[in-house]
């Protein structure tokens, strides 16, 4: 009885989570120009999409920004995670920790507004940066750094500090320890942080709207402005393409992660086996 209840509760939640996604995908193959009325299956909206220059330009810009901001996020996120976890005590640690978690919880509109006002003041004094790709990139990298910090931190916490110590005992300099021991062990976490921050950037509409300048519209900005006006079947087609790519990437990365994990275990087993002696 309890089992039946718990199972139906879980199934209901999964239906709730997936119903909108399934609808989006199904209706993207609808021939009718009414999004919600099914006529017959066709690829009509994909052809429209393929000829939509605005959307394609927006996809290009979004991909560029997402790639660069994910790189920056992983870079700064790794620094932050190291500062917070390898040096447990330093002056201002609490301030750094709370600054690093601010973009995670602060509403987007406030992050966007405050960053823009800072950039405007900066431009007032220094003459740069011009609003556009670079300013959007900064905003996304800030948000991404906060998320990357969380991902890298959780990996650093479960990592064995003994390996670092062993490397230092064998005469490694601190930077060598990082390059030869810590970094290779961190790679899976860095890959997931990259994927996560890439998606966050590719998905963001609020920060981009605040930070963008004339002529710079990311994909979510174009989708948002069309969705505000009403329902539009091309958005369904965009959604289906995005969902397909993301699902493939997530599944592939989880296979890659479990493959790396198995390889690591094999290597450890090999290192302890008799062959090496």
């Amino acid at each position: 009885m309890i089992k039946l209840f718990s199972r139906s509760w879980m199934i209901a939640v999964y239906i709730f989570l997936y119903l909108p996604i399934v609808t989006l995908v199904v209706f993207s193959f609808n021939n009718s120009s009414l999004v919600t009325v099914w006529s017959h299956a066709s690829l009509r909206w994909y052809t429209v999409l393929a000829n939509d220059a605005d959307l394609i330009a927006a996809v290009g810009l979004s991909l560029k920004i997402a790639f660069l901001s994910a790189l920056m996020s992983v870079f700064f996120g790794t620094f932050t995670a190291f500062a917070l976890n390898r040096y447990r005590r330093f002056r201002g640690r609490t301030l750094l920790a709370s600054m690093a978690s601010t973009p995670l919880v602060m509403p987007d509109v406030i992050v966007g507004l405050s960053l823009l006002l800072m950039l405007v003041s900066m431009q007032h004094w220094l003459g740069f940066p011009e609003r556009g790709l670079f300013t959007i990139l900064l905003g996304h990298a800030l948000l991404g750094t906060a998320y990357a910090t969380v991902v890298v931190t959780s990996r650093l916490r479960e990592m064995d500090g003994k390996l670092d110590e062993a490397a230092m005992d064998l005469g490694c300099q601190p930077f060598q320890v990082f390059r030869l021991v810590t970094l290779p062990l961190l790679v899976p976490a860095l890959v997931s942080a990259f994927l996560l921050t890439f998606t966050l950037s590719f998905d963001d509409v609020v920060l981009s709207s605040f930070l963008s300048g004339p002529g710079y519209s990311t994909l979510p900005m174009v989708v948002f402005s069309r969705a505000r006006l009403g329902l539009n079947p091309t958005i369904n087609a965009v959604a289906t393409v995005t969902i397909t790519v993301v699902t493939i990437a997530v599944v592939a990365s989880s296979f890659y992660q479990s493959h790396m994990e198995r390889k690591r275990k094999r290597d450890i087993a090999l290192a302890y086996s008799d062959k090496n002696q």
Partner: protein, 301 residues
């Protein structure tokens, strides 16, 4: 050259660099911008740059403070109502997410161990697909000639389309839908670590399962409940996209007001004051979140 190299090496090895880089990064991109918001909220509409606020006429810098935006904010009841209504929707969203998410996380933590990674991934997967597109999808489901109404009409369950769009119903569906994973994940992390021996001991001592749940499971998962609730509540207060796409004229949300002050009215001091008051509203929940987040990570170590 060798000197430069050794200098570079000492830098890369130094803890100053490892601490300094993220410090500088976050100071420039979070702390300073928030201070600028505070400053601009205290300036007049024309004086939007920080340098305009400093008066040099007496030879000494004097900061001109202007509370006009705040006075306006407190005199106009519409703002007060909007803040109140944002808090109301955020609280309702949090409560619904908890009511759906707690049993879900509990059942997930009790399901067979080998299934759990897959169940978890299925919660995460929608989170990876665009938030904006999923909100748009609800629009296609909920409008009067939308998918749900069409299905119900064709099955003869309803005679006329249900009004589910551009009201508090559609707003809440969108908010609960978007924030549910943020509630489930910390709860699951907490509940999956629960030591089942406590429950066994309680059962041995004659406690009914229901009572044991209230007296043991719920109190032990307090950190997860608070972390999850804050992760839902705080962003929900300032949400903009969901009320813009799914809300209606009656569903007042402060995120929309801030957006309109900034983009439609170009009133930067007003937008900044709205933001400052919003930050004050979420400061206490944020402190709570940080405290329990720290507690939960200490439990892990």
């Amino acid at each position: 050259m060798a000197k430069v190299q050794s200098f570079m090496r000492s830098l890369t090895q130094g803890r100053q660099l490892v601490i300094g880089v993220p410090y500088l990064w976050f100071a420039i991109l979070t702390a300073i911008p928030l201070l600028i918001v505070l400053k601009i909220s205290l300036s007049e509409m024309e004086a939007t740059s920080v340098s305009d606020m400093i008066d040099w006429t007496n030879g000494w810098p004097t900061v001109k403070l202007n509370f006009a935006s705040y006075l306006f904010l407190s005199s106009d009841t519409l703002y007060f109502q909007t803040y109140l209504s944002s808090l109301k929707y955020a609280v309702i969203t949090t409560v619904i997410c908890l009511a759906i998410g707690y049993p879900f996380a509990y059942f997930m933590a009790r399901s067979p161990k080998h299934l759990q990674p897959m169940l978890l991934m299925m919660i995460m997967l929608p989170f990876w697909t665009s938030f904006l597109l999923r909100i748009y999808a609800w629009k296609t489901l909920l409008v009067s000639n939308g998918v749900i109404n069409n299905v119900l009409l064709s099955l003869g369950i309803i005679k006329s389309p249900l009004l589910m769009m551009n009201n508090s119903f559609s707003l809440l569906v969108g908010m609960v839908y978007s924030y549910l994973p943020f509630m489930i994940l910390p709860l699951y992390a907490n509940l999956s670590k629960l030591d089942l021996r406590y429950l066994e001991a309680a059962a041995d001592l004659g406690t009914s399962p229901f009572k044991a749940f209230w007296l043991i499971t719920v109190p032990l998962s307090k950190a997860g409940i608070i972390a999850g609730s804050m992760l839902v509540f705080i962003p929900a207060v300032g949400e903009y996209v969901i009320p813009e796409l799914l809300g209606g004229p009656d569903t007042l949300m402060i995120g929309r007001v801030l957006w309109d002050e900034f983009f439609s009215n170009n009133d930067w001091p007003m937008a900044s004051s709205v933001a400052v008051v919003m930050i004050l509203l979420i400061l206490l929940p944020m402190a709570l979140f940080n405290k329990y987040q720290a507690e939960q990570s200490e439990v892990k170590v």
